[in-house]
């Protein structure tokens, strides 16, 4: 089954992005496909290349990049939400791309389910 994901909160402040990561990992392990993750609202902060958490903590940004690379996940950051919050090409981490809200609607149309994680 195709499961598209929407993430609405940033890194570390809320558990939602952690829950989303564990969900996506489990979905792939079960043989589902996760064609796209769409980052909206503060979710765009998941794509900041400057994120530098303590060594003994999980690195949320790099964890996404690795998972996306291994499983061909299209990670899309909403351009309008990103500009408002200071995410641009200059600080966009590898594995993410910036695009429009149409990519979210398209994911909703194409996937079998859209699962939302937020606050």
């Amino acid at each position: 089954m195709k499961l598209a994901i929407m993430i609405n909160e940033g890194v570390y402040q809320h558990q939602s992005t952690d829950s989303a990561y564990q969900f996506v990992k489990a979905a792939i392990e079960k043989g589902h496909e996760v064609p796209r993750i769409f980052f909206y609202h503060d979710g765009v902060y998941n794509a900041s290349s400057l994120t530098d958490p303590p060594k003994d903590d999980r690195n949320i940004v790099m964890r996404w990049a690795k998972l996306a690379h291994e499983h061909n996940i299209d990670m899309v950051v909403c351009v309008a939400a990103a500009l408002r919050r200071g995410i641009k090409d200059e600080n966009l981490a590898e594995g993410f791309r910036i695009s429009g809200l149409g990519q979210l609607v398209e994911a909703g149309i194409q996937a079998d389910r859209l699962v939302v994680f937020g606050d």
């Binding site: 929407m6 796209r36 061909n72 996940i73 309008a80 609607v105 398209e106 149309i109 194409q110 079998d112």
Partner: protein, 140 residues
């Protein structure tokens, strides 16, 4: 669409398909008050885009979300844009299914007359029925 799709190559599989014929039921559940957080405003942006994709779009206002469409909002003193007039413009995008939960209005002492758009007032039970029929439900 579905499991029968061939393996995709790096997130561009959506683009390969012709989505033009697919019409899904999208429901946006607005549960947050305006201005305290940005969810209501950024939700409207998704609603407008989904209309541009010719989807079957409906909006529910429940809980504090009913405050989004209350008349008489004046935001000058907080220096934030008053986006409530946008709800009046939804009709122009063929978004005409606006539902409001009666219980949410009652809890807040509001009536249909207090709202700046025409809506259909429904019970929680009626809303449950419509929600269950949707393909995509996004709650803000």
């Amino acid at each position: 669409m579905g499991e029968e799709m061939t393996e995709s190559t790096g997130g561009i599989d959506f683009e390969d398909e012709d989505a033009s014929g697919v019409i899904k039921k999208f429901m946006f559940v607005n549960r947050k008050a305006p201005y305290g957080t940005i969810y209501a405003l950024e939700s409207l942006e998704v609603v407008l885009i989904s209309a541009a994709f010719d989807q079957d779009v409906s909006l529910i206002f429940m809980d504090d979300g009913v405050y989004q469409i209350v008349k008489g909002q004046h935001t000058k003193a907080i220096d934030v844009k008053n986006f409530s007039p946008t709800y009046r413009a939804l009709e122009g995008y063929d978004i005409e299914k606006l539902y409001v939960e009666k219980e949410s209005l009652d809890q807040r002492g509001l009536t249909e007359d207090d709202l700046l758009v025409d809506v259909q007032v429904m019970s929680s039970a009626e809303i449950a029925k419509i929600m269950a029929e949707q393909d995509v439900v996004i709650s803000f």
